[in-house]
């Protein structure tokens, strides 16, 4: 039964977790993820879930307990933001290398310092090489839908990797939006029972997890991980098809808007896509062939499909809500540019870093980007490949 309700991103994610009724949740509250832990612990206190809720003393312990619980054979989840993710760091790699299916909502927040509680993507972008699948969500609906699908992707026999479901801190996590939620029975049927692979609690078949792998075998395990990542893209699409049948909502590896015949386009993650879509509409009304591409899956990076989608453009602006300090632009820009180069696609690509620490991206900023693009498409050399939007004192 489909129900239309108004929820914040955090409420929607907590609801998805309640419907999935995981065996174990180990989590530590951190702004702006706090509500997820708060709502979920309320479900536990009210007896609305069967979950063993472990209150831990830090995020390092939250991820460690989650790793232990999944290894034992329990479907397990946690949630975090920013510094919390940073504190989980070493265990993120443990989770993915042990091939443990874990679903973790990540409410994107800027990393310190200066200390800041608002949205940017520096937390998840920092974890982009940790071997986690990363899904991004523009709004509350997508955050909810990604959560339900993430469990299936993570536990798929060809994948067996942890998944991070990202949504923008405060903008989505605390913004009240209308969404359609699935019935508890639909969700439970969709995700099915968790089938652990060689669980530690199976005393009839004892196994060791976490053994040493020296130069004679370490590399094979890493290659296996990379190959599981390469299979994940296909699985994300398969699960998406299946999800569409129960929900009526279809997701791909990325969403395109007015891109088919576009000359110029912007590419960006999460909530800012809403602002960009509105600007595309305004430009289209004036006859400008503007378009939008919003990646849903950033890890693994859908290079082949992306370059195909971008190949008809004259110029594209990749917009990063994270600064990588390489002086060569943000992470989304670098991956996109590399993919285009490999595919031999001749599209001019420029980078805009925006929205750090919760700085608003307003329609005027996106208009500025599109007018730069229009000139670049006509042959003007961009003054700089990497620019910063909305900085006091003007564009740097």
């Amino acid at each position: 039964m489909v129900q239309r309700v108004a929820l914040t991103g955090n409420e929607a994610v907590a609801l998805a977790m309640k419907q999935m009724n995981p065996d174990v949740v180990a989590a530590y509250p951190i702004t702006p993820q706090t509500d997820i832990v708060q709502f979920f612990s309320q479900y536990v206190a009210n007896g609305e879930v069967d979950t063993e809720f472990i209150t831990v003393e830090s995020e390092h312990s939250a991820m460690s307990a989650t790793v232990g619980a999944v290894a034992a054979g329990a479907r397990s989840m946690t949630a975090t933001s920013s510094q919390g993710l940073a504190l989980m760091w070493e265990i993120l790699y443990i989770a993915s290398s042990y091939r443990l299916p874990i679903v973790m909502p990540l409410v994107n927040r800027a990393l310190s310092g200066p200390i800041n509680i608002h949205c940017d993507h520096s937390d998840s972008m920092g974890a982009r090489d940790s071997g986690w699948i990363q899904l991004y969500s523009e709004n509350v609906q997508e955050a909810y839908d990604n959560m339900v699908q993430a469990v299936r992707i993570s536990e798929h026999p060809d994948v067996r990797l942890p998944v991070m479901v990202c949504q923008d801190g405060f903008i989505t996590s605390h913004g009240l939006e209308n969404l359609e939620v699935l019935g508890d029975d639909v969700v439970r049927e969709f995700i099915g029972e968790f089938v652990p692979e060689n669980p530690l609690l199976n005393v009839k078949k004892p196994v060791t997890i976490g053994a040493l792998a020296l130069p004679d075998s370490y590399m094979e395990f890493k290659v296996q991980q990379a190959q599981a990542m390469s299979k994940a893209a296909q699985v994300v699409e398969e699960i998406s098809e299946e999800f569409a049948r129960v929900s009526g909502r279809k997701y791909g590896l990325f969403e395109t808007y007015q891109l088919q015949d576009a000359d110029i386009a912007v590419m960006l993650l999460n909530s800012s896509a809403g602002t960009a879509r509105m600007v595309v509409d305004e430009l289209r009304a004036k006859g400008v062939k503007a378009g939008l591409l919003k990646p849903r899956m950033f890890r693994p990076f859908p290079a082949r499909q992306l370059t195909q989608a971008l190949s008809g453009l004259k110029a594209v602006a990749v917009m990063d809500r994270a600064e990588g300090f390489a002086n060569t632009g943000g992470p989304l820009f670098n991956d996109t540019k590399a993919a285009l180069y490999d595919a031999g696609v001749q599209v001019k690509v420029v980078n805009y870093v925006y929205g750090l620490g919760g700085r608003d991206l307003v329609p005027q900023h996106v208009h500025e980007v599109f007018s730069d693009l229009a000139r670049i498409a006509e042959g003007e050399d961009p003054s700089s490949l990497v620019k910063y939007l909305g900085v006091q004192g003007g564009v740097v």
Binding site: S97, Y98, R99, L100, R160, E197, N198, K205, P206, V207, T208, I209, G210, A211, A213, S217, E220, F221, V223, Q224, A226, Q227, A228, S230
Partner: protein, 101 residues
């Protein structure tokens, strides 16, 4: 990408699926120093057996019979613990020609 290295040879996630298989891993090849046991001097006090971290002292019916070089890493603890007045185990460089005892 080509197919995954076989799950049989490299179980996914580095799991060890056959318990107790540490015995198959002969750590003796790590050794750079080799203990040499002198049967004539040995008083069978069992200090070497007690202290050896790798269970590499071969004992049969309460008597030392030799050193298991498949697992001995050459740490030298046995030689160190062998009582000063006995000195039945001394260390030599691995590869040096001497009776293995």
């Amino acid at each position: 990408m080509k197919e995954t290295p076989s799950n049989k040879e490299f179980p996914r996630g580095g799991y060890i699926l056959n318990p107790g298989n540490a015995a198959e891993y002969q750590t003796g090849e790590w050794r750079s120093m080799r203990p040499v046991w002198d049967k004539e001097k040995c008083i069978n006090c069992m200090f070497c057996w007690l202290f050896c971290p790798d269970l590499a002292i071969i004992v049969e019916e309460g008597k030392v019979k030799g050193i298991n070089y498949d697992y001995c890493k050459g740490c030298g603890i046995c030689s160190h613990e062998c009582p000063d007045r006995v000195k039945a185990i001394h260390m030599i460089k691995e590869g040096e020609q001497e009776d293995r005892g």
